[in-house]
């Protein structure tokens, strides 16, 4: 009769609940149950190993990702700071940002012998953001200005061309003039008043007189003075760019870069 009663679900429920309560009470009274916990932990060490390793791997991956993100942010901050410093320093030496920021690199692909000092062709065109009038530099010095643009190439008028006139300023004295070539490889600074005495090695750069040609691009320095004609003195310039070794140039693409 008793066994029949014991088999009933509600009796079993009470028994199990009571047994659990007794175990709980005993475990609270006797802290030695920690040994049983350790035993279960040890027994499950290997079955749980894949999950433990997976969790560890995920945690390491998350940490690695967080560290990389932090490094990336720091790198970007440093790059920004570097660009800022370069642009501040560049007003005197190299006003252009590095390639990819506002300037692109290009190679000289053609230099017709009959127009040797007039123009060159480069392998960058409208597809890469080159626009007519854009300045072209070599080692930070102006070598010319883009005159015609195709999709993948462009023609550049050289500063030694007699057809290119560039507003220029003598940096030390702030005297304004115009730089022009003679078509024979030489460049001159024109329209400087005769009474102004400019000295050799004075730096000359572009003046603020053109929308497409930024001011402050180095041109070269004064080499020789010549005669006075009609109240103005002409100065021969020594170009900072090496027009005899013109292979690679930078083209300023500004905001128009694709």
């Amino acid at each position: 009769m008793l066994w029949k009663e014991l088999d009933k679900p509600w009796v079993q429920t009470l028994l199990a609940g009571g047994l659990g309560g007794v175990i709980l009470a005993l475990s609270l009274q006797f802290p030695d149950t920690r040994g049983a916990m350790a035993l279960v932990g040890d027994a499950l060490r290997w079955p749980e190993y894949p999950a433990v390793e997976l969790r560890r791997g995920v945690a390491e991956l998350r940490q690695w990702t967080a560290e990389r993100r932090e490094l990336q942010e720091r790198l970007e901050a440093l790059e920004g700071e570097n660009l800022l410093l370069r642009s501040e320093l560049g007003g005197r030496k190299d006003p252009l940002p590095p390639d990819g920021i506002g300037a692109i690199s290009a190679r000289v692909t053609l230099r017709p012998p009959h127009r040797w000092w007039q123009e060159v062709r480069i392998d960058a065109g409208g597809r890469r953001g080159v626009r007519p009038g854009a300045p072209v530099l070599q080692n930070g010095f102006l070598v010319g200005r883009v005159s015609r643009v195709d999709q993948d190439e462009a023609w550049v008028d050289l500063i030694s061309s007699a057809e290119l006139l560039i507003p220029a300023v003598v940096e030390k004295t702030r005297d304004l003039g115009v730089m022009a070539g003679d078509g024979m490889g030489r460049t001159f600074l024109l329209y400087i008043p005769a009474e102004r005495a400019l000295e050799p090695r004075m730096a000359v750069s572009t003046a603020l007189a053109s929308e497409v040609l930024p001011p402050g691009i180095p041109l070269g320095h004064i080499a020789l003075s010549s005669d006075v004609r009609e109240g103005f003195r002409y100065y021969q310039l020594s170009s900072g760019a090496d027009l005899a070794r013109l292979y690679d140039v930078s083209v300023f693409v500004g905001e128009n870069k694709p």
Partner: protein, 155 residues
């Protein structure tokens, strides 16, 4: 059915490890044993003592209160088993199972939440997540049971 219950205990254990204590893992083992009982694979006593043993192991592995989960799972299993058997056979369909299983899962979560609250560490938001993640499991179990009943009816 014991090995299936053991597999679900192991699965719950693995999820507990992977979850990393973000919130209490859904009572997968309990639901599996209850489903087996409803499917007719286990008697009420078998189901009750299966969850008791599983609960005791769970306590020794995770809660640090040996007997707490064992008693909790056993009492709730006994209650739902008695309730299920009190329902006429014709009325034991998937919706009723869903209701009882979800209710028992909520009751278990409520008891755990109460224990934590009494200890001074209320974790009610985490308990809510446990219930939310438990609902799909209950639904899957209900679908499995409905499919099984349908197959048995056809055969």
């Amino acid at each position: 059915m014991t090995w299936v219950a053991g597999a679900f205990w192991y699965l719950q254990d693995l999820i507990q490890i992977l979850g990393g204590g973000i919130f209490p893992v859904p009572e997968l083992f309990f639901l599996a044993v209850f489903s087996a009982f409803v499917a007719g694979d286990e008697s009420p006593s078998q189901a009750l003592w299966t969850v008791f043993v599983g609960g005791l192991l769970w306590d020794l592995r995770w809660t640090g209160l040996p007997g707490f989960t064992a008693a909790l799972w056993a009492v709730v299993m006994g209650a739902v088993a008695i309730f299920w058997q009190a329902i006429p056979v014709q009325g034991r369909h998937g919706a009723i199972f869903l209701f009882i299983a979800a209710g028992s899962h909520a009751a278990l979560g409520g008891c755990r939440g109460l224990l934590y609250a009494l200890s001074g560490f209320p974790i009610w938001p985490e308990i809510l997540w446990q219930q939310i993640f438990g609902l799909p499991l209950v639904s899957i179990a209900a679908l499995w049971l409905a499919h099984r009943k349908e197959s048995e009816g056809v055969s």
